[in-house]
């Protein structure tokens, strides 16, 4: 066996081994994902796995030959000569251009369909309107509102297990972003209604706000389409909504509780028979750590007998 063949055989084995080791390291420890609480989370998990495998392989294919060369080919003591004169290999260059092109095209096609599928409307979905403002969130439930009256609202996002939801979003000052790590979805929330100078020089505000009882008509008249994101929550528990776009002084504290309830509890909440934990917002109070509210949430979890994992892992 020629020395070149031996070198290649050794690194091939090493690359295979490293790929597996690095993949498991990434998947099980380094890039540990939070608990998944929506159908989207399990769907996206497939994509994460594909990327982790790719990361493991690409890492190995670069680092193994690099490390091997450092150890084996390094300049020996007392050797001042140059290395062999190898200035390139066009076939090799073409190979390591074409193969990545194929991988990239594959990923692009798969990723496009994957994403298209992810954001397409689900059957029987209900709308919940999410409003972000400095520095809190309000949720409107048109499903449980009386037409013509101010819509039902809450400081907590409450959703039902297995019920597809479309969350429409607006901000009324600056851009915020909706992120619930356990749902694996994120969406910027863009402002809608800062008025400008009108004829007499005053500033006016039109009410496209979700709080407007006549929101639907106003939205139609002004051709207003808010941002939206779709989820099917599937694990009861308490999660946190976090604003992910810098929005000023208390951006870090712009939180809300997200509570996924099973059908019975959800009905109890709709009927007003279930008391929710306090809203973890500090904008109007003294800023404190989120820890202050954790005991309360823990108590709520215990009371609801949420299956341990989602509440335990959270708090």
């Amino acid at each position: 066996m020629g020395s070149r063949t031996r070198h290649f055989a050794i690194i091939t084995v090493l690359i295979a081994v490293s790929t597996v080791v690095v993949y498991f390291l990434i998947n099980l420890y380094l890039f540990e994902r939070p608990f998944g609480a929506s159908a989207e989370a399990s769907q996206i998990e497939t994509m994460f796995q594909a990327h982790f495998i790719l990361m493991g392989f690409l890492f190995a294919i670069i680092v193994v030959p690099l490390g091997y060369a450092i150890v084996v080919f390094r300049q020996k003591e007392g050797d001042d000569t140059d290395a062999p004169h190898i200035h390139g290999n066009t076939t090799l260059e073409i190979v390591w251009t074409i193969i990545p092109v194929l991988i990239v095209v594959g990923f692009a096609i798969w990723g496009s369909f994957f994403y298209w599928d992810l954001v397409s409307a689900n059957e029987g979905e209900v709308e919940i309107r999410v409003q972000g403002y400095k520095w809190d969130w309000t949720f409107y439930y048109p499903e449980h509102s009386v037409p013509g009256e101010p819509p039902r609202q809450d400081q907590t996002l409450v959703v039902e297990t297995g019920q597809p939801v479309v969350l429409t979003m607006q901000a009324n000052d600056v851009i915020h972003a909706f992120w619930v790590p356990q749902f694996r979805v994120k969406q910027d929330v863009v402002p809608y209604n800062i008025a400008i100078r009108s004829d007499n020089g005053d500033r006016q505000v039109i009410d496209l706000s979700f709080a407007n009882p006549n929101y639907e008509e106003a939205a139609e008249a002004f051709n207003y389409s808010p941002q939206e994101v779709r989820i099917i929550p599937d694990q009861p528990g308490v999660y946190r909504l976090r604003c992910a776009e810098i929005c000023g002084t208390q951006h870090w504290a712009m939180l809300a509780n997200v509570i996924v309830l099973d059908t019975d509890d959800y009905q109890a909440w709709v009927n007003g028979e279930l008391t929710l934990p306090a809203d973890p917002n500090f904008a109007n109070g003294t800023p404190d750590t989120e820890g202050y509210y954790l005991d309360e949430l823990k108590a709520f979890c215990d009371e609801q007998e949420f299956s341990g994992v989602n509440c335990e892992s959270e708090y």
């Binding site: 190898i86 260059e93 992810l118 402002p191 946190r240 951006h251």
Partner: protein, 631 residues
Amino acid sequence: MRTLYYIVTSALVRGLIGQGITAFVVYQGMVSLRNALGYDTTQGVYDEPSGVMAALISVIGFLLAAGVFTDWLKWIGGEDPPLKHGAQGRPEWTRYINVDVNHKVIGIQYGIASMVILLLGGLLAIIFRLELAMPGLQFLDGDAYNTLFSAHGIIMIVSIFSGIAAMINYLGPVMIGASDMSFPRLNAFSYWVSIPAATVLLSALVVGGWDTGWVAYPTHSTTTTMLGVQMFLLGFYINGFSSIASGLNMVVTTVYMRAKGMSYFRMPIFVWAAVSASILQATITQTVGLALTMVVAQRALGLEFFTPVTDPALIELGFPGGDPTLYQHLFWFYSHPAVYVWILPGLGVISELLPVFTRKPLFGYKWIALSSVGIALVGSIVWAHHMFTSGMPVTWKIPFMISTLFVAIPTGVKFFSWVATIWEGKMRFDTPMLFVLGAISVFLLGGLSGPILGTIATDMHLHDSYFVVGHFHATIFGGFVFPFFAAIYYWWPKATGKMYSEALGKLHFWIMVPGFWVMSLTQMRTGVLGMRRRIADYGPDLGIADEQALITVATLAIGWSILIMLYNLIVSLRSQEEAVPNPWGSRSPEFMSPSPLPEFNFDGPIQVIGEPYDYGLDDSTYVVPASAAGD
């Protein structure tokens, strides 16, 4: 006494005084004028429109007082002043604080500026990393934290721009066998305009700070009451003049000033990278300039570019409102490719140094050269991947996802070619080579964490999280910081004629590389777990307190290692020993000349008669003096 006199009368000090006086006079004048016109000038920390005007004009004040315009003003008067070379009868060291047209002096001026600004940005990072080391707010409030991280971002960016300009200016002309840049006065202008830009930028910290991050998205940036935002926008904007002018200069220099026989595919590989970066810099910078101007104009003049819905009367007539996502398009059209501007010269340094330290030709020279151009081109059409969560239509997102993934291909070509260069190479592990290997490993981290952000499905979770922070720092450390340090160590004996201590250089490396790996990977880990970026505090419910403490420790380690480097370099300057002209056995033109390089780089024109990286081939020569080429 003489020293003090030289300092006080230097261009730097004159410029700063001129800028201060201009700013004061214009500001007071504008306030009086606006008072006279009946505007309220008492709102906020300072009167905003007056402040904007004062900041803009103060830059001209600086440049006039420093004497940057002297030759051009003479030209307006009909004279044709010759270029002034040398120290003008003063000690040599005063060249670095005066307007000097020599590209090497300008390169070193940029280098010093870069390091000073780097230390400042690093200091800010350490302050807010200490805050983040534990959950709960310890010693910063929301506004202070926001100002610090915003300032850290933009200050580091200015430092990076100075750093690449240092490398391109010092190395570009000499590597292609030229005596200087095509436009030496414009080159000096590029450097000197970045100084008042930096002072305007830093003044943001004194006039109230700002809380928008370096991206300054409207409508937050157009409505925030923290008035430093205007100075930040203007400082960023003015720094753009420097980028455009130096990019233009390097492009023309490369086209017209190459030595005889130096065809494009015989240039040192760094020049390819520098030119690709320069082309980007000279063009796309304009769009961010426009985006920043638009925010300034909306705040100061009331032009409603970014206000989504206008008043009902106008809407019924069909009048359009503004759109906050427009800013994001204009901003990222520049700011994504800008990342390639920062890393391409660094990747050039990696490709330049590998053959020298492996004693082997660069594997696939043309592929590496063209991959730089490829990265610049593909990188220009991927900007909207920063907007996957912004509410863009799905039909816009998908093409950007595809183009983003394609960046992997030229980048992959570089990586594979580097590995092939190292394979069977007789490697020597001097400090510059260690930093090159560190750069490859760290840039690999950045590269591998890229595709997962490029596919929209996974980006929905990771966007705006700490994962992005980790990814970004890995690409920038791997693509700029490590190669920049490698370049400093590698060309230090060439630039100064002195040799640094190898032991301290290696110590720097062995602290910084593990420190960075820990910092970056832990940032990514916390991001996946749910840590957002740009937050002053995080809840204990995320379970990432230990990781945060670890990141802070790693950051401190990196900070200390950089101080070791500075100590090492400064001490070496006082050493009596002269470095040999070509300590690394390089074939590059600059190592054919004595150290430090003479005023015009070479004694006479040089000529290229062979390939640049023919290591391992007997009797192969790259450059000779044109007089010896015999034709």
